[in-house]
């Protein structure tokens, strides 16, 4: 049978170019015994339906992946989310993770930082250093990345409402290391819309928040071209109880809102869209999850092409990070969680993720210990180097089940996005609670199935054992809050207060107008103005959002 002309065309123009730019990890991939592992398994006959719906990897609509060789070229980034207590403690954990073979950093900030409060703010009481690291000023950020070369490491920061401030601090630290902004690599989450429906670390109302986001898009395009300016996140929507199709629908609907806002602000879609990235959840429902990732890629490519008239291939590709499902972990028989995480991580890899965080076995009980973090990382390394699934591209393609599930999720998510559009868009649907109620209904239905025993959770409603002695937990030093406050006050006492006041009054004036706020925020952090001081000014001008508690 002769080769389809489109296949020859793909090999010549897509595959060979990619191989020239980025050779595969090994000259040959084979099974034990020598049989070669094919790069890409294809149907016996390539027809129009195949080309329209699946096509070759690295080609529209990207169902089979965004790279022509996927993990044969480069493995996904193994990026473990970490951060707790003080900057010095977290820096120690990052150095440990890098030494163990993690390939990207992922910073967890504590809740006061995420919500724009300094550690000595009354609102921060009890929360300092708990779920992440406390960052009040550039001084903390300098400690956080001490001895970590920011020209080599890529850093993901889970920061949303005050993303501009933390990004500015990162840029300032890089400059102090002699690394120009143009060289830094990483991602800021910067996805405020999902905070209103899940996760909850909003500060300002939706509209001024979108202005901050488009300011970041614009500034980063010129200043930090290798930095992903947003990570549009379904992860937390899923954790809050959404189904797979709802996760995709609400995430891509949020994505549409950001793209539209940027276009409305005068930006060129083919300039900023390549810096958009996504973040999804991987649950234990292995096959549905693989289909979900494939459906998301295809649906987003169509949206970008048809709705936003994007032309450049990089604008159409949905690149994503995955984290295994925290809400699936049980406090009972915690070693079982290692197996859950393995299934979930496998789903992410079979679904073509660009980077992956694997949860630790003890996270239903508290922050993970160093030992359990290492096992979580080893799980990825075993999938990468022992399972063989990374040696071929999109291995489940063509399975009747997978393709049907991919079609179904794409259709369900597309229909839900259509409903949101008809109801006035995602902001209107957040404001009237439509999205919150959809998620909550799914969460409640799931829990009712667990309660009735219809859905089995091993160790929780079946196969229970009398619990053994509790495992060792990571306990935070209760003095962390006090220590952090002392350090913050020392910064306030030694900085040039006049410079701080000047940056704040400039920021106040600009926030009331329409100028891009990023340059002013960068000046402010360089003067050691604190996160809380910057956010207080913005709170004054933009106002604050308050949760209505939809039930």
């Amino acid at each position: 049978m002769s080769k389809h002309p489109r296949q020859s065309d793909w090999e010549e123009n897509t595959l060979n170019k990619s191989l020239a730019r980025c050779p595969e990890r090994q000259p040959q991939f084979s099974h034990h015994g020598g049989s070669e592992t094919p790069r890409l398994a294809l149907p016996a006959e390539i027809d129009d339906h195949y080309l329209d719906t699946l096509n070759f990897p690295g080609s529209y609509p990207y169902t089979r992946g965004v790279q022509p060789t996927m993990y044969r070229g480069r493995l996904w980034t193994m990026r473990q989310y970490a951060g707790f207590s003080t900057a010095a403690e977290s820096n120690r954990r990052y150095c440990y993770l890098l030494q163990q073979g993690t390939t990207g950093l992922s910073v967890a900030f504590d809740l006061p930082t995420q919500i724009g409060y300094d550690s000595d703010d009354p609102m921060a009481m009890g929360e300092v250093g708990k779920v992440g690291v406390a960052i009040d000023s550039l001084a903390d950020m300098e400690i956080l990345f001490d001895q970590i070369p920011l020209n080599k490491v890529s850093t993901s920061m889970t920061i949303n409402a005050p993303a501009a401030v933390l990004l500015a601090m990162y840029v300032a630290v890089a400059e102090k290391q002699g690394v120009p902004a143009a060289k830094i690599q990483g991602t800021i989450q910067n996805d405020i819309l999902k905070e209103y429906v899940a996760r909850g670390t909003y500060i300002f109302p939706p509209r001024p928040s979108l202005r901050l986001i488009t300011d970041i898009f614009q500034w980063c395009t010129a200043q930090t071209p290798n930095f992903n300016t947003i990570s549009i996140s379904g992860y937390h929507i899923r954790e809050a109880g959404a189904t797979a199709a709802q996760e995709i629908a609400f995430t891509l609907a949020n994505g549409c809102a950001y793209v539209q806002a940027a276009i409305d602000a005068g930006l060129d879609v083919d300039v900023f869209a390549r810096r958009l990235s996504f973040f999804f959840n991987a649950s234990s429902d292995l096959l549905e999850e693989v289909a979900k990732f494939r459906a998301a890629r295809r649906l987003w490519a169509k949206i970008m092409k048809e709705r936003f008239a994007a032309k450049h291939p990089a604008s159409l590709m949905l690149r994503f990070h995955t984290q295994t499902a925290g809400s699936s972990l049980t406090a009972q028989q915690i070693d079982n969680n290692i197996v859950r995480v393995t299934l979930q991580a496998l789903a992410a890899v079979l679904g073509g993720t660009q980077s992956l965080h694997t949860n630790s076995r003890d996270e239903a009980l508290g922050l993970p210990t160093e030992d359990s973090v290492r096992t979580a990382l080893r799980t990825q390394q075993i999938i990468a180097h022992e399972s063989g699934v990374a040696d071929t591209v999109d291995p489940l393609a063509g399975s009747y089940f997978i393709e049907a599930a991919t079609d179904r999720i794409e259709a369900e998510a597309g229909a839900l996005i259509g409903r949101i559009d008809q109801a006035g868009g995602v902001i209107a649907c957040i404001e009237d609670g439509f999205i919150q109620r959809q998620i909550e209904n799914s969460a409640y239905a799931f829990q009712c199935q667990v309660e009735s025993g219809e859905r089995i959770v091993v160790g929780v409603n079946r196969f229970q054992t009398d619990e053994e002695v509790g495992p060792p937990l990571l306990r935070l030093d209760p003095a962390v809050e006090e220590e952090q406050v002392t350090r913050l006050q020392a910064v306030r006492a030694t900085r040039d207060q006049a410079a701080v006041d000047a940056t704040l009054s400039q920021l106040r004036e600009a926030a009331g107008g329409s100028a891009n706020l990023m340059p002013l925020i960068l000046e402010a952090v360089k003067a050691y103005t604190t996160l809380g001081e910057i956010c207080r000014v913005l709170r004054d001008i933009f106002g604050e959002h308050r949760d209505k508690g939809y039930l």
Binding site: L111, P112, Q114, I115, Y117, M123, A124, M125, G126, E127, K130, V131, E195, A198, R199, G200, T201, E239, A240, G241, S327, T330, A331, Q332, A364, L365, G366, L367, E440, A443, Y444, Q447, E451, V460, N461, G470, L473, R475, L476, R546, D547, K548, G549, Y550, L551
Partner: protein, 141 residues
């Protein structure tokens, strides 16, 4: 002795900065399905706001949820705020990611029961039923 209402009336509260309210909402829904009147505060309330809402809504019991590790500061602060407002008879229960060794500390501070992950809803509903009954009968804590 104060007689409040025939129907069991409770408030589910999220204190502090933690935004994880899947569990809180599931419990609110389950209580509602079992005949309770339920008020949900929404996320990110201060202990004082939760106490004030509970008093204003005339509830018999409060269920607090925290997954961020701030429970040792926040749960007792709600009890304190209730007592200061003369509403120390409102029962306070709590749940979330709470290490076993913290449970006695919270009980000493006046939180009558703590639920950890995996607790069957049935048990939680029974505890709220009991809390409301003891509140109605005016039994002291």
């Amino acid at each position: 002795m104060t007689y409040t209402t025939q129907k069991n009336r409770v408030l589910i509260g999220k204190a502090g900065l933690d935004g994880h309210d899947r569990g809180a909402k599931v419990i609110a829904r389950a209580l509602r399905d079992h005949g309770f009147e339920v008020i949900y505060t929404g996320i990110r309330r201060t202990p004082e706001e939760i106490a004030a809402a509970a008093i204003q809504e005339d509830v018999a019991a409060i269920g607090l949820s925290s997954l961020s590790g701030a429970h040792l500061r926040l749960f007792p602060a709600v009890v304190e705020a209730l007592r200061r407002a003369g509403a120390g008879d409102i029962r306070v229960l709590g749940g979330g990611v709470i290490p076993a060794e913290d449970i006695p500390l919270l009980q000493e501070a006046g939180i009558i029961e703590i639920f950890t992950p995996g607790t069957p809803l049935e048990r939680i509903i029974a505890a709220f039923t009991e809390a409301c009954a003891s509140h109605r009968s005016g039994r002291s804590l």
